[in-house]
Amino acid sequence: MMEFPEGLKYSKEHEWVAVDGGRARVGITDYAQDALGDIVYVQLPAVGLAVAADATCAEVESTKSVSDIYAPASGTVVEVNDSLNDAPETLNQDPYGAGWIFTLELNDPSEVDALLDAAAYKALVESA
């Protein structure tokens, strides 16, 4: 059963965003990890990297397929989940929890308002 936790924001590129003040923790959704398959490598962004909304911010490899992960809003990377270096499969096992990828210091927290809520993201996925 695909999970769409309430309280998170979602991008059309299948990232989730948990906003805490001016910061946003980012990961990939349950739908995304299922579509990618077994994840074997995560290329994390550098802390301090400034990213524009929708710019490539990380990469994942699953079953010999390399996929971009995008920044859902503009900001600066202030934290990355180093544990994924040794355990990339965490993205499959706990995408909304221990599988978070990076945290952004948002340039403009209102950018997140334009992202989807859980119901809208669920509808997007189910309509595809």
Binding site: V40, E61, T63, K64
Partner: protein
Amino acid sequence: MTGTASTEWRLIDEVDTNRDPAEHMDADLNLLDGVANGLAPALRLYTWTMPTLSLGRFQPGTDVDTAACDRLGVRVVRRPTGGAALLHGADLTYCVVMPLPDGREGAVQHVYERIAGALIVGLRAVGVDAAIARNDGPPGPVCFAGQQGADLRVGDRKVCGSAQVRQRGVVLQHGSILLRRLEIDESDVTIAACHRDELRNATVTLEELGASTDPHDVAAALVAGFEQSLGLAFAPATLAAQGNTNIIGISTSASVSL
């Protein structure tokens, strides 16, 4: 992929085109850039004029025996796609670039299976009865030592290894079909627990299967396989009309930095 029935794809036949190994990777990424900018999907077919070890996007350079590569005249390039080391030189390489299908049709395994279906139909026309591979789990350092969902086998032996990259709503998948064997193999140029006998037992070439090893024959069969399996029509095209190269984090030098 649901809308492929009336789609015209570009066919870039470079079986006889002499390119530097690094240019091959640039050319494939160039196609990705073009499709991301609205050009039609493309199938490119090519061969390698010198023995070349291609590494997966994130494969450690320490997997390569650089001294052996120098001694044996083997070039090294890094692919934009995932997976493990693969020695080119007696293979036919295909590269498919197309918009990422919507929804579940775009899942990694689904795209692999659609393209595998086209390759299987094509190979059947040259007398090769291939099937989609078993899944051995995460690949080791040498591509042809294991099988994942992208690959093709004949019996239990791998005949084609494939990998993908997905950027900007476009999927690029390329793969290598073993026509013949070189005198050397991956066990000679990688630092890995991969032995020659093990590798030879895990793989099979078209020559060993009694099929044509002429890359023109195999390329023509693959084109027909894509047309039949995916309902496509191809229009001949060249890379020259493609547009600007867009290399993202990939070495374009002849000798990749390891």
